[in-house]
Every structure is written in structure tokens, then in C-alpha cells.
Amino acid sequence: MNKTYDVAVIGGGPAGLAAAIKTADKGLKTVVIEAMNRLGGIPIQCIHTGFGLHYFKEDLTGPEFVYRFIDKVMDRDIDLLLETYVEEIINESMMSKKIKIISPKGSWIIESKTIIYAAGARERHRYEIGIPGFNVAGVYTAGEAQAMMDLYGIMPGKKILIIGSGDVGLIMARRFVLEGAEVVGVVEILGYPSGLTRNIVQCLQDFGIPLLLRHTVTEIKANNGRVSSAIISEVDESLNPTPGTEKEVKCDTIIIAAGLRPRTKLLKKMGVLIDPRTRGPIVNDYLESISVPGVFIAGNALVINDYVDYAVEQGETAAESVHEYIENKGVLSAEWRKVIPGSNILFVVPHYVSGRKDVVLYSRVSRPLENTYFQIGGIGKKIPLIKIMPSTMLRIVLRKTELSKYIGDIVVEAVEK
């Protein structure tokens, strides 16, 4: 157990697996550390299609998608540690990280020159989004319900109310109907759905499931320890419930699909700075933390992606960065240029660019916009957008040649025509 790795990949989901394949191909000594007793991460429990449209140009299910990566990992000289939970990462120096782990084989420290952190996200739960009422059985996050049904064969309930109209909520609505449950509605606090139009049509409209926009659940009622109904209310402009608009909806199960948050506990503990906008780490275009050198972050731990393909892409970028990092004993010094989210922009990742290479920007707008330009200041790049929702992640490639046209901060804006 006393070897030093070039790179320790934390998390065996799509981002981590894609990263490990690439670092191994570059001849780096690689270990993948995964807490569960299997590789694959979240897609293993996603039996619907919609995976791999960009990366493989195919419409795959979650397991089909992720097994393409698992198979490649198995073919390579990559050490795998399953059922191994990372408790702490200690930054000893630029070229040495210590990873405290615990597993059924024991508890010890793994040494590695660099880290690719791809530990994914956690779901927001009922209390975090502030739903008062009785604390009873029958309230699950979408991910828990999905794991119950599609990994372990447990049916959560019969009469379902879903909170949140993101793709996860929409897909779960259909999933419940396909198992014979009744979905009484999808409640969305915003004035527009958060999921793809394709999913609104295929998951709700095709099954006659009502979508209640500008509504929220203001109370959970119970009978003998189980949800018996939900009180739903309309909300005003500032998203506060309007008194007098309460309606009681009978249901025995409430599914919270209110979004994901990058898992950053271990990162924060080692001093990685967090962006309050993404709630993920602040990184440069190597996807390296700007405060802890040699720690690279990819996938949903970096930023919540709507497509798994982007998580994979980030994993591959991180892998290339690690290769360079090890060669040069660090990321080469640069006059870093800040990427600044301007008007109508919720966030942009990465937060700094070196100008030395092409960079992929991931960004979301802060409100639905029509007839806009997505504009990158200084460089003079303008991308017309006919219609754009906050739920769609924008992926923009900036070429090295474009970046070299201008030195200074890069302001990203969405301006209406």
C-alpha cells in the first residue's frame, strides 16, 4: 500500500472514470477511489435514455453510457478501490497530497502527487428548501426514490406529488406513471419549467400530468405517520406564497426534485475557495483550484451539469491538466485573466483563464431570455440566442487565437437585441 500515485481520482462516476482513462493512457499511475461497492456513479440508477447525445452521438441509458467507461477502466492498468470512503485530503505540498481513507480492508493514507476530485453532487432536500408541516414518511428526494425503484426494487408510493420541474423531476414523474402510480402534479415555484421542452412533452404532456407553475408546497399534512396531502399555494413575484390561494392536494408521497449542489465538504476543509454562484470550487482553465495547487475538479462536483457529456468532458480536461502539471511540477505561471459574469449571467466556469490554450466556458443565464446575444467582452465574440432558459447550460469554446486578441478580464454577458 506504500506506493505514491501520480493521480488519485476521487469518485468513480462518469467524470472520474473519464479522467482516469485519460491519465492512464498518458502513462500516469492512477487510482480511482469510490465509496460505493460499484463504479458508475449516478447514471447507474438512471434507466431512462438521454445519455451520450453529445459524446457518443447516441441516445443511451445511464448504465449503457457509463459501462462504456467502466469497460475501458477495466482494460487499463488502473488501481481501483471500491467501498473506499475518502474522509480527508491533506495538501502537503504542490507534489504531495495525502488521502485519508477507510474501507472494509482497513483505514490508511494514500499518497498521490495530484487529485482529481469528481465526487458528484447531493440533492437539496425538503428542509433546505423550507417546506414546513409534519415530519413524516413519504417525502423523498428524486434521487432516493430513483435508487429505491431502479436499484433495489422498492416502490415508494402510489399517489405522487413532485416538487420541481427540472429534468430530474420530469423524468421521475414519468417513471412513477410507468410503474402504475398516479402523479397528481408537478409543482414549480418559478414562472417557467426548469427542464427541457422535450421532457415537458415526453414526460408530462404525453401522460396528462399537470404542471403547476408559480406554485409551491406550503405545508405537508399527515395521517398516522405518512403524508396524506400537501397544501399548495400560488407565489407572488418575490416567490412568497399568496395567502388565500391554498389548495389541498391528496397524495401519499412527495418527491423533492429541487436541484443539486456540488459536494464540497472535503474541498472546503482543505482550503479550496468556493464560488457562491455555482457553490462549487473556484477554478482556472486547468480546472485546478485557485487556492490549492494540484487539486483538479470535474463533473457535478465542479458545477451542476445538465448533460453527463459535459461531466465527462471536464474529467478529460482535468486529466490533461494533471499530465501537464506533473511534467512541469505545477501549472506554469501565467498572467491569469478573470472571467466575470456580467448582466443576465448566473455563473461562468472556469473563473480564470491562462490564454495558453483553448478553453470551454460553461455558463447559465439568470432568467429566461429571448432574442439575445451571448457576448464575450473584449474578444468581441457574439453568439446569437433565439431563446435561452436558465436550465440550459451553455457551452462556449474560446480558441486560443481568440483569447490572444485581447488581454484583460473577460466579461460574459447576455444582452437583448
Partner: protein
Amino acid sequence: MRVGIIGAGIVGLSIARWLSRYENIEVHVIDKNPDVGWGVTKANTSIIHPCHEEDPDKHPLRMRLCLEGHDLWYEWVRELDIPSRWPGEIIVAFNDEEIHVLKHYLSLAVRNKVPGVKLLDKEELLSIEPKINPSAIMGLYAPSAGSIDPIQAAIAIAENCADNNVYFHLGEKVIDVIIRDRRVVGVVTSEKVYDFDIVINAAGLYADEISRMAGINDYYIFPRRGQYILYDSTAEPKPEKIIHTTPTPKTKGVYVLKTTDDTLLIGPTAEDLSPDKKNELRTTREGINYLLRNAEKLLPRLPPRNLVIKTFAGLRPEPSTGSFIIRFHEDPWGFIDVAGIRSPGLTAAPAIGKYVVELIHKHIDLKPKNKWKRYRKGIVRIKDLGVEDRNKLITKNPSYGRIICQCRGVSEAEIIEAINRMKKIGVKEITLDGIKFRTHTMYGRCQGSFCRVLVSLIISRYVGIKPWEITFRGGNSFYGIGEVKSLFKEVIR
């Protein structure tokens, strides 16, 4: 001599622990819930009060029991391995009127002989506790205040009682008290009839109902709801000291405290409900907003909302008489009320137990056991051990290295240990809440969205029931409704 205690809350259990020292009595504890401590005991502020807020003129017994109970907890937490912290508490004043209130409690501290209580001027206040809102002008510091994990305390006492041959009958509701010739002779539960020579009514919110079963009808209990907000351990500002706003006639004010679990607790509200509302354990938007407003007063800023891990409510069992009702009845002989144990009932509980034993001793000669087991150890938590101790355990039992709860680093072995301990105290139904309170799985940042399903599989494996037959907390609170496809099978049938 057989003694039956109705209620496995902190009060009933404390009484049982004291009674378990005697060899000529057989102690039985009955509770309607599947597990111990699920009444008032599981949802309160968890403070071991210094007792400078108790008025010795109005409530002499309560004051005495609070003071004595406080000191007994110093020993009980050590003997029973109960998580506790003793940071002291500060009542914070923001205006002249509130300074008067502080001075009033200082005078009570002097009268009650509470140690160490003193006023702090603004500078002292902010240096002793820098995480108080700088608009505070004075504080009253009581260094003896502590906080325990109340549900772990109930579990610890129950385990110690079981070790000392106390019998538990859980999941059985008492529906009648049997009286013959003006003496109690037993109780009827939803399951069985028990013969007892003495019956102790420690039924918390429902003590009035039990008293009525014994023909006693001179008081009632009404619920006073207290709501809480719990934040993740990373939330800031998180003061070291227990701090709270000035008490009112109804309450001890709103508290902000770091729990024994390192989380941040804000609460409670004080809402009087009608006596028939003993199930109103619900949180409300108004209640939560009230707490946030008070916390905003106490702290320089509010902790971020995304770090809320839970909101919940408890109900104080308020007696219509205002005082603790603790009495040995002559008619019916052998019936003992321990009712209306409202705040500071958690603090007072060990002393209440002792006091009840003294009441019994006046009527019956109690003979101490030769071998009474004083100590109990909690579940070993792998995350708290150093590398060497860990590896020793993992080598013997690899499931100590299999982490099930990623938020709190809880292993499979701890969950199995919890199941075994539940069985040992007579828990018939292994529930998710029972596991949660014992291991702190499903208790952290993600509230079980990752690990609950894994915990249900472990229970399923060890108890031999299907995952969907497991309940959160008994009754109809099933984890699932059946296997996937069961809804189609229903249709076909």
C-alpha cells in the same frame, strides 16, 4: 413487589434507573411507541439548566429538583457515556428593560445558590462570546449550563436499565389502570394485562389521560409547541456558549446553541395549543420566521439558509396547575403521578427519579442490590477512532470499514450494533428512526437521501423483513408500499 412505569421518556426512564438499584422490586416500563424517548424527550432544547431561572417561591419543588438534577447529570453523562457539553450559557440583553430582567435572574441565582452566575458588561460579553450580535449591551453568564443529547440519554438509560433487569414493553399503549379495593393492581395495555403493586404515571403529554384512568381528575395537560431550526455543523456564526434572549413568563427565550453533535440549533417558539392538540408536531412558516427574527437579534448575522438540515417541533406538557405534579396517592393506593413535567424537566429528570424513590420508600422498605451495574458504554463510532484502533476493529469485523452514511461517516457495523442494542431493550419493531437516533445516519447534510435506502437493506437483511415493510417510526410510516410492479399486481388481482 412489581412496579409498572407508564412512559419511557427521560422521566420514566430516570425513575426506572433509580428503582433498578433495589432487589425487592421488579421494574417494568411500558411505552406506546416502538422505541424509547420518542415523546417530549426527543424534541427539546437539550439544555441542562443552571436553575437561576426558577422562582423558589412559586415553584419550590421544581427549583429543588432542577438544581439537584443538574448536578446528577454531571455523573450520569459519565456513567452512561451520554454525549454532553458544558459551555455555560448567557442571557443577552439589548435594552434597559432587559437589563432589569438579567438582574432579577442574578438575584434568583444568589437565592438558589447557583454557582458562578455573574453580569457581563458589553466588552466582557463580546470577549467571552465574540459571536454575539454587537448590539447587545449586557449579559448574564451562568457557567454551569450544559447541553446533552436527550434522545441518546434516554437510550443510554434504557440500556443501563435493561442491564439491571428492568423489563421493557414497547409498542404497547396503556388503555386502563386497574383498581381494586382502592389500590392499583395493574394496567391493561393494547396487548396484555399486567399485575403491578405500584403504577407510576410518567406519560408526558398524556399523563392527564392516565390519571383519569385511575379516577384522578384534578388537572389537565395542554401542549405548548416549540419549533426549531437545525443547521449543519459548518454553519456560522456558531457560538461556543449557549446564548438566549431574555425569558418571558411563558418561556426561557429563544436559544442559539451548538449541540453535542456540533450542529447549530435555534429555537424554540412558544405556542399554546388546546389540550386536544397533542399530535400537532408540525412546523409552520410563521414559527420559523419568528425564530429567524430572534436569532437575527442574537447573532451578528443569520447562518445561510442552504445549511438548514432540519426543522422540527416539540410539545411541552404544560400542567393546568403550572407546577410539576409528583405525588403518591393513597386513593387509589400505589398510584404515583409524575405529571406536568415541563421545562426544565430534562434537567430535573434524574432528581425526579430519586424523589419518586423516596416517596415509595416512605411506604415500602427498599433493599439495595448487591450488584448494581452503574456503567454503560455507547456504540463505538469508527470515525472517532485513531488509525490503529480502527484497523484492529476492521480486521476483526470488516463492516466497521464499510461506510454507509457519507455525511457522518457511519459504518455498517454501527448500524448492526444499533439493531442488536434495540433488540436488547425489547424493541420489537426495528425502525429507521431508531437507527437514526442511535447511529446518526440520515441525520446529516443530506438527510438520508443517499443512505436511507442502504440502511433499509441492512435492516431487511438482519431482521428478515422486506425493505418496504420497514417503518420510519411505526404506525403507517412505511418506507415503501411494496415491491416495484406491485401496483400492477394489484390491478391484475
